[in-house]
Symmetry: C2
DNA sequence: TTTATTTTAATTGCATACAATTTAATTTGA
DNA sequence: TCAAATTAAATTGTATGCAATTAAAATAAA
């Protein structure tokens, strides 16, 4: 591809992924509204339903989010009564996030979310699975770069 | 897939795309810093380099962004001297965005961006092309839903 | 023509995102 | 042991992102 072609918006893989991510988030919104969650709050709850009593750091690593994003988000979920935030007695630097009864109960309502969104999307399941696997490949390919950036080399 | 499985973070296509989009944006950042642009500012400039003297509405349609995002972003680019913002004489409702000399000149430096980012990413070109085409398919599949939401049916 | 409707940006308010810095706690090393 | 280095969250500052509302201009309809 020429340098000229490479600068066209339609040829940007980055833009394609960026636009899709926003569109998908928009698709979830009406369904998640019934749970009283935003999209980011939803993925945080997904992570917590799988593993409870985790530190902000661990949660952040799973969600690719830092404390600057998570701290206010978790405070909101705490204010909604879905979880508790308490320092780890063994290591006071860490803040342990634990689901409350209400937080665990919300999972029952959330069980319907994937199906609802999928039906609404009109996308076939094969495409979805292919995309997920490709995104996984891409993340795997990019992670070394991210790690190198972290180390600063 | 069971309802239980469908709720696992690793099975969320939405999360895979969301995480990839953020990772890609992060990859562009150091390269774009040399141009003095953020990622969103960069895609706005890409659109303007292809077509100049457009309204905020038209630009927004191409970038999937609304005036709430574009107005402040364009004001920043104007403050940097890359473009001008002026009402259309024929239709005062519209604000026409025009590149300045500096804005057009920046394109020369930007020509190197795609190659630099690509080399840095360590991703092979086939994967990139496949992903772009899949994202295109997904957007095409989702657009009817978005349009229906707009109409409210 | 004159009012009602529609269209376009701007504004407001809320929720991310993330870099950079700060603070407190813990671990390492001299 | 005890100062230096490291680690984990919180905080600060900047930049999106979008829904909802507002304001101004243009168009449609009566």
């Amino acid at each position: 591809m020429s340098y000229e072609e490479a600068l066209k918006l339609e040829n940007q893989t980055c833009f394609a992924v960026y636009a899709c991510a926003k569109e998908i988030t928009r698709l979830y919104q009406p369904v998640l509204r019934e749970l009283g969650l935003t999209y980011t709050q939803y993925i945080a709850m997904l992570a917590l339903w799988e593993r409870d009593a985790v530190s902000v750091k661990e949660l952040g690593e799973r969600l690719y989010l830092d404390s600057g994003t998570l701290t206010p988000l978790l405070k909101k979920l705490e204010a909604q009564g879905l979880l508790t935030r308490a320092r780890d007695a063994g290591d006071e630097r860490q803040l342990l996030i634990r689901l409350s009864e209400a937080g665990r109960a919300l999972r029952e309502k959330a069980l319907e979310v994937p199906e609802k969104v999928f039906c609404q999307s009109g996308v076939n399941i094969e495409m979805l699975l292919k995309i997920r696997s490709q995104m996984g490949e891409l993340m795997t390919a990019l992670q070394p770069v991210a790690a190198a950036d972290q180390r600063g080399d």
